[in-house]
C-alpha cells in the first residue's frame, strides 16, 4: 500500500467508530419509538471473551448498562444468539431468570421482551432486544417481520462498528505514527468553514517547515 493510500485509509478509519456508534444508537431509539417500548438495546458478541456486551441502549438502563458484560450463552439473549432464532416473550407474571441481570442494575423489571439475532451472512454479531412494548394488542407476525428488518439494519451498523474498531487497532499497533497523522487529518476535516480553512492553512505551513528541514 502506498503511503498516500495508507494515510487516506487511516483518515477514513479515525472517527468512524463514533459515527457507527451513533448509527447503532439511532437504531435502538427508532426501534423503541416504533414499538412504543420502554427500552431497547443492542448486545455485541465479543468473540474473544465469549461474552455479550451492552453496546447501545435507549430508555431504561441507558445510563448504567452501557459496556456491561455477561456470558454469551445464558439468558434469553444467549439463547437467541446461539439458536439464531428470534423470540418474543410477554406477560411475565413471575420472575424468570432472564430479567434478573437487568433488574438488578436498573431496578426495573421488564414484563416482556422481543429478542432477535443480528446476523451478517454466516456470522452472528449480537442480539437486538426491545423491552416492554405496550400490551394493546396481541403480538402478530407482522411485528416479527418488522423486528427482523430492524435487526438487519442493526447488524449492518454493528458490522461497520467492528470493522472500524479492527482498523483502529491495526493502525494503533502499526507503531509508525500513522494514527497520529490520521487523527489530526480527521480532526481538521470535521471542523467547519473558517476553522477548517485555518486548520488546513496551519497544516500546510507545518508541512512546508518539515519539508524545508528535511531538505536542510
Amino acid at each position: 500500500m502506498s503511503e498516500d493510500l495508507k494515510a487516506a485509509v487511516a483518515a477514513g478509519v479515525v472517527g468512524s467508530e463514533e459515527s457507527f456508534r451513533t448509527l447503532l444508537q439511532s437504531v435502538v431509539e427508532v426501534a423503541r419509538a416504533i414499538f412504543g417500548a420502554k427500552a431497547s438495546s443492542i448486545f455485541l458478541l465479543d468473540e474473544e471473551a465469549d461474552e455479550l456486551v451492552f453496546e447501545a441502549i435507549a430508555g431504561f438502563g441507558a445510563d448504567t448498562l452501557l459496556g456491561k458484560r455477561f456470558p454469551s450463552s445464558t439468558g434469553i439473549a444467549g439463547w437467541v444468539l446461539v439458536t439464531r432464532q428470534p423470540l418474543v416473550i410477554e406477560d411475565v407474571t413471575e420472575d424468570p431468570r432472564f430479567a434478573k441481570d437487568f433488574a438488578e442494575e436498573t431496578g426495573y423489571v421488564p414484563k416482556g421482551l422481543m429478542a432477535v439475532p443480528l446476523l451478517n451472512e454466516e456470522r452472528t454479531l449480537g442480539v437486538l432486544e426491545v423491552l416492554d412494548r405496550p400490551q394493546r394488542s396481541q403480538f402478530s407476525l407482522v411485528e416479527m417481520d418488522l423486528l427482523g428488518l430492524f435487526a438487519n439494519q442493526a447488524a449492518i451498523a454493528l458490522d461497520l462498528l467492528q470493522r472500524a474498531r479492527r482498523a483502529e487497532r491495526v493502525l494503533a499497533e502499526s507503531g509508525d505514527g500513522a494514527e497520529v497523522v490520521a487523527r489530526l487529518a480527521a480532526t481538521v476535516d470535521s471542523l467547519e468553514d473558517e476553522r477548517r480553512a485555518a486548520g488546513l492553512k496551519l497544516l500546510a505551513a507545518v508541512e512546508e517547515v518539515l519539508r524545508r528541514d528535511e531538505g536542510g
Binding site: 458478541l45 468473540e47 465469549d50 456470558p71 454469551s72 450463552s73 445464558t74 439468558g75 434469553i76 444467549g78 439463547w79 444468539l81 446461539v82 439458536t83 439464531r84 432464532q85 428470534p86 423470540l87 418474543v88 416473550i89 410477554e90 406477560d91 411475565v92 407474571t93 413471575e94 420472575d95 424468570p96 431468570r97 432472564f98 432477535v116 439475532p117 446476523l119 451472512e121 454466516e122 456470522r123 452472528t124 396481541q138 403480538f139 402478530s140 407476525l141 416479527m144 427482523g148 435487526a151 438487519n152
Partner: protein
C-alpha cells in the same frame, strides 16, 4: 415389514434393488384407509410409547406442565473433538427448553421426554456442541427429536445433512424450526426433516401444509402460553414454539402407528393438514 438386515446377509443381496419375487416380502404393516382422517391418524392416542428428545437449553423437569423427564443430559465437545454426554443437573439455563417440553407434553401427555442440553457452554463452541448433541440424539434412535436451533455456518451444513439423513433412514423424526428471518441456515432447510413455521391461530391442533417450501408446515407459534423456569407460565411467540406443536402431533401419530417411517408420517401430516381437507 421389510426384513431386518441381519437376517439377509448383505453379500447375497443386490445393492439397493428388489430381486424378482421378493416384492411379497415388502408388506407395509400399516393398513391405510381410503381417507386418512385425524381420527384414524391419532384418535385415542396419548403419545404412549413414543420418546421425544428436546435438544435445547435443558428442561426444568419439576415444572407441573412438564411433569417429569425420563433423562436429562448435557452435550459438550472434548479436547480431542470427541463428543461428551453427561447427566445434566443444571436444569434449564434459559427457559426455552422447558417451554418446548411443556408444549409436547400438553399434546402427548403420555410420551417420554428426554432433554439434551446444547446450550450454556458459550457461543464460540456452540456449533460443535449442537452437532455433538444431535449426533448423540440420533445414535440413541429416539422416535422424535425437537430442535429449535439452526446454524448459519456453511462448514457445518455437510455434517448436519449427513446426520439428518441418517435420522430419516433409521426412523428418527427430526422436527426443526424454520428461520423467522430471510437467512440461510441449517438443518431446517433439509428435506429429510419436518420444518415448521408459525401461524397466528390459537388452536394447538391447527396446522397447515405449505405447498411452497422450504418451510413444510405451519403450526401454532404466536402468543402461546408456555412453561418457563421458576415454575412460571408466560406467553411467547416464535417458530421455536410452533415446532414442539408439530413434535407433539408426531408423537400422537407414532403412538398409534409406531410402524410409520418419517416419509409415511409426513404423508399423514400432509393429509391431515387443515388446508388439505384432512382436519376431521
Amino acid at each position: 415389514m421389510a426384513q431386518p438386515e441381519e437376517s439377509a446377509p448383505r453379500e447375497l443381496r443386490p445393492a439397493w434393488s428388489l430381486p424378482a419375487g421378493a416384492a411379497e416380502g415388502l408388506a407395509v404393516p400399516v393398513e391405510w384407509p381410503g381417507e386418512v382422517t385425524r381420527e384414524w391418524a391419532w384418535g385415542g392416542s396419548t403419545g404412549k410409547g413414543v420418546t421425544v428428545c428436546i435438544l435445547d437449553s435443558g428442561v426444568d423437569e419439576a415444572h407441573p406442565l412438564v411433569n417429569g423427564v425420563q433423562r436429562s443430559v448435557v452435550a459438550s465437545v472434548g479436547p480431542n473433538d470427541e463428543v461428551l454426554v453427561e447427566d445434566d443437573t443444571e436444569g434449564d439455563l434459559c427457559g426455552h427448553g422447558t417451554a418446548c417440553a411443556g408444549i409436547v407434553r400438553s399434546l402427548a401427555p403420555d410420551c417420554e421426554l428426554v432433554s439434551v442440553r446444547v446450550l450454556g457452554a458459550g457461543f464460540t463452541g456452540s456449533g460443535g456442541v449442537l452437532l455433538a448433541g444431535l449426533r448423540w440424539a440420533v445414535e440413541q434412535s429416539f422416535d422424535i427429536i425437537n430442535m429449535s436451533l439452526s446454524t448459519t455456518k456453511k462448514q457445518f451444513a455437510g455434517i448436519l445433512h449427513e446426520l439428518t439423513d441418517r435420522a430419516y433412514f433409521q426412523r428418527t423424526v427430526l422436527v426443526a424450526s424454520a428461520h423467522n428471518m430471510p437467512v440461510e441456515s441449517y438443518p431446517w432447510r433439509f428435506s429429510s426433516v419436518i420444518s415448521v413455521g408459525s401461524h397466528e391461530e390459537a388452536d394447538p391442533l391447527a396446522f397447515y401444509y405449505n405447498p411452497d417450501p422450504p418451510v413444510e408446515f405451519f403450526a401454532r407459534g404466536v402468543d402461546v402460553e408456555v412453561a418457563w423456569t421458576g415454575n412460571a407460565r408466560i406467553r411467547c411467540t416464535g417458530n421455536s414454539f410452533a415446532t414442539p406443536h408439530m413434535s407433539g402431533l408426531c408423537a400422537l401419530v407414532l403412538g398409534k402407528h409406531p410402524e410409520l417411517t418419517p416419509f409415511q408420517l409426513k404423508s399423514v401430516l400432509y393429509l391431515t393438514s387443515a388446508n388439505v381437507g384432512g382436519a376431521k
